[in-house]
Symmetry: D2
Subunit: 350 residues, 4 copies
Amino acid sequence: MIIILNESANDEQVDHVVAKVAELGLDTTVSKGSFRTVIGVIGDESLIQPDQLEAIPGVAQVVPVMPAYKLASREAHPKASTIEVGSGKVSPVKIGGGYLAMIAGPCAVESAERMDAIASSIRDSGANILRGGAFKPRTSPYSFQGLAEEGLEILRDTGDRYGMPVVTEVVDPRLVDLVCQYTDMIQLGARNMQNFVLLTEVGKTDKPVLLKRGMSATIKDLLMSAEYIMAQGNSNVVLCERGIKSFDPATRNLFDIAAVPQIQELSHLPIIVDPSHATGRPELIPPCALAGVAAGADGVHIEVHNKPEDAMSDGPQALLPEQYAEVMVQIRKVAEVMGKQISKPAAATV
Amino acid sequence: MIIILNESANDEQVDHVVAKVAELGLDTTVSKGSFRTVIGVIGDESLIQPDQLEAIPGVAQVVPVMPAYKLASREAHPKASTIEVGSGKVSPVKIGGGYLAMIAGPCAVESAERMDAIASSIRDSGANILRGGAFKPRTSPYSFQGLAEEGLEILRDTGDRYGMPVVTEVVDPRLVDLVCQYTDMIQLGARNMQNFVLLTEVGKTDKPVLLKRGMSATIKDLLMSAEYIMAQGNSNVVLCERGIKSFDPATRNLFDIAAVPQIQELSHLPIIVDPSHATGRPELIPPCALAGVAAGADGVHIEVHNKPEDAMSDGPQALLPEQYAEVMVQIRKVAEVMGKQISKPAAATV
Amino acid sequence: MIIILNESANDEQVDHVVAKVAELGLDTTVSKGSFRTVIGVIGDESLIQPDQLEAIPGVAQVVPVMPAYKLASREAHPKASTIEVGSGKVSPVKIGGGYLAMIAGPCAVESAERMDAIASSIRDSGANILRGGAFKPRTSPYSFQGLAEEGLEILRDTGDRYGMPVVTEVVDPRLVDLVCQYTDMIQLGARNMQNFVLLTEVGKTDKPVLLKRGMSATIKDLLMSAEYIMAQGNSNVVLCERGIKSFDPATRNLFDIAAVPQIQELSHLPIIVDPSHATGRPELIPPCALAGVAAGADGVHIEVHNKPEDAMSDGPQALLPEQYAEVMVQIRKVAEVMGKQISKPAAATV
Amino acid sequence: MIIILNESANDEQVDHVVAKVAELGLDTTVSKGSFRTVIGVIGDESLIQPDQLEAIPGVAQVVPVMPAYKLASREAHPKASTIEVGSGKVSPVKIGGGYLAMIAGPCAVESAERMDAIASSIRDSGANILRGGAFKPRTSPYSFQGLAEEGLEILRDTGDRYGMPVVTEVVDPRLVDLVCQYTDMIQLGARNMQNFVLLTEVGKTDKPVLLKRGMSATIKDLLMSAEYIMAQGNSNVVLCERGIKSFDPATRNLFDIAAVPQIQELSHLPIIVDPSHATGRPELIPPCALAGVAAGADGVHIEVHNKPEDAMSDGPQALLPEQYAEVMVQIRKVAEVMGKQISKPAAATV
């Protein structure tokens, strides 16, 4: 940690900072430049909150030199992690470390028939994890909020029959146990990326977690949220870039493709992309999916619906099953160029 | 609702849209222009999710003409609402409709002594509601997370002795009842503005709610979140502009002052400003507080701490008690120009 | 300047950085921390481009400690500057150092009659500088581009008759001389804030310059552009906050009110606000104008048009003359609270 | 064009709008809904400025239904354009319509020796157009501003010897003729994307133009700037996505990969990507370059320097020649998957 003082900082203020750092158990080196004084902190800077130093009169800026996330960092774990999702009937699908997750399915679970039709089709196209929401976080209190436990049952049953592990979102800390009874992977949505209560509860489970980036979260914010989960003991975190806020209203969000290599540099956790939410428009999903794989992502999450205009949520950002089949053909070719493999799900029993 | 079709949309697609709208129980008028066809929806458009129409092939854009928030809108309630906070020992403080809330206090409740010292000072300066966090949503799992119930007890006791209603944040739906036992007003923080589970729980209580704008929430998003609370029956919602994300790293957030008159045009709910979080730097708090009052805000929320460098959270964005006293002198003058009153808290018993 | 190395940086890389800095004529101090090595640069860091150091293998981050703008900085000129605009018939109006500029007029000069009517009205309301565009930077090549020299003549003549100094925009380096023959103050628009060729040409004149902030310019960027003008010898620069890009499409731009006190802390140059461009909606102009004055701005720029629907440019963001009169009544009251004066223009001859 | 009135709009206001549109030569249809009145404009809406209608009392919103750019739109020219750059010694390189531009070279032309070394290397790796700046727009007036005409001479000579067409930036309308004497393609930089004077001058030439997206320009803004050039008669415009402003300071800009398919949907003009400026960090350039090609871009622009720490501008965002060679190997494989070709430059004479 480096503490830069104001040009006008006096000796008393310098001494005050040094004393404060000493009180927190660390050493300092003081360098008086021709323009400003700079104080270097020696030791484990995680013992200090930058806030406390910034609040001292005379301090201009505090520059941390260690990442604030420890468990999630590459320093802590130089080798890329491979996370396994599913067991038993839906034998494990690998994500990361050279394996691509191909997550697909409707935004919300709507009925057993629709779920079956979609699962059957996307499995044929090469998807290896089935998604579907049972609890939907909607911006309007008057919108469809999901089928709740009935949705979880349908999702589990469909996954089992098609040999596909399933992922579904949890939005309420009181329901984490219930959701865990049904799902192979827990999704934390963008709006809950900094719901620290929920992160903590999910961290207490041993389920793999799909943590979506908040729409105004920096990459550091995302890694700090992964750290919350990991600090509770659950290291099976898969990150997901799904678009961030921007000034151009042309797309729902802005797909931050450069987040993929940045996260891979800073962290050992797998990072996948979600071009459905990132763009909100079906014609943009295939090119952005391919871009994700070419940028080195560890998987692609795409919403698929067989009748978007009847979808109870987010219809306009879903691909049709036949469109999904087409993009998967191209994804496979780019994956090959990148030297990546796509785990196959277990055998279907239907 | 107006449905604009693609230039290339054919008659079959037009008929499909008309049929879909009819299926949802509403009428349409079709206008064929020289360039595009436009379909107007006649009736209560809240019965339709724009999503469903956007997903129909041939539809270019769906433009709602009614606000999606009903209870929060000016149309529903043309007169500005006045919300009352506190009762009994801390007899009600009015917010909105000509009355300014002056909310102040430390970021977190740290000890009874500190709380007492701060409350005593800010009350003298003219603050009328006391704030202090007992449950702190922190970006790092390793940071101080608040004193929990002990913090609530200290806050309640301090408020009672100084005759000041108190406001504190709730972050967990399981703790809403507990927090309600101690507080006069519930705060929902920026990171929880779209925590719909929490909004719903808070909506079931009858406590006034201080709903802070999310850092990437549009004004419409904020009003939709207020609608969530109101849809459960709790109409006592006070909104708070506290800065949004921007590209300039110079300040922690960007203070969106124009949100104040915009919200007052769209909604009857009071809107206050929080220059502490909006700027994150004490020297910017006084000018931004004055700007808020001059722009017509219904109150000002400022963090005050008597030793910022020892603050367990957010020290650098707090004013010292004497700085708060100074800005309150100016705030009172601007409030007078604006024709606004500042409710006095009840008599202190200390 | 502080150079932070990567955790993995080796001794050879440290030596390389030290040698590079020495080659550029400056000294260094090297501090080896437990986690990273940090190199402090001693001497005039403006001799070094951070770029050059960042490109050296092993360097993680370069943190400048001196402002890159020298002439524009508070350090260079601790007292707030007062700029005088106009001479002769339109005797000087002061801006900064306690004096407020009240700049008003139509977006574009459209005709002598309209200019006369508007000038007469806004002068009565208290405006002290008259604006009007003769060369309009329009986003569409098919839109009205201004009356060119005829517009300059009308503006000059109107200003002279009403005793008001005039300000008009220049968009072409080839026309700086022409525009200077007619105007008392040169405006550089937001889209030209980083048109360095134009900044340089304007810097060679002795006319006061109204430099508008670009819609994606940081405060530092704005001060660097002021520096461009000042480096050519023209120190008469007045800055203008006019809204920046944001994710909320509700307003044309986002009014960054906190930029006012920030700029006053960093620079001695006056900073005014332009709520017309910052919001783009007439109902938001008065509250934002008052907010600007309350935040300490050195003036307010408002577009006024007597028939907005016939305006050849930007009609929807103009106030009517009677609306301008109303807001000026309130502005004067807030200005009094702030202890600011409004220079009166010279006597009118009409 | 669709005009949506306020809920409170009265008949007189409706009549006023209808009369105004008639005055501008177009017809209307009026639809009175249960909540609002909507007026459709029939005819060529480009005759109307939305501004003029928005300024009429009672008008809530004006929704254009035709693109404001005509020449640049897909409607005007359904087939993707192929632009040819270079002639004679540097026989034409194709961009668009299945052909990829591979533009590379240093940020600034620094010396004949360095230019030669870089050109030789990148040509071997597969680059087909050579870049180098002779006039540099720098944010600081104290930074290196380019070698001017000497730089143009070196660039021309190097391109000729290696059979590579050259592209260089123009920043001053007075120098367009000079630059055209030396270059095969004119670059307009991000900061000049809305320098309408410069766009107009460049539009009068017949040189292909590389138009970079401004860092806060929407996709529509970019196409409007292309329209400026095309409206003067020059249709040889190649667009370039080079990153936009964002709230995350982790990268210099945010690479908007989804802009590629969006622009290809809206316009016939080629669109290339520039991962150097988009990310500002060499380790992110290769993954973002591959992502660009996978997303369907018509080319890739990468800065290459053989000693970045000595670069006079933007060293930290350049690849080393050997890094460029590596990424080109991968780019070729992804290009093959996408079915794209890379034009070869003419034979070198060195």
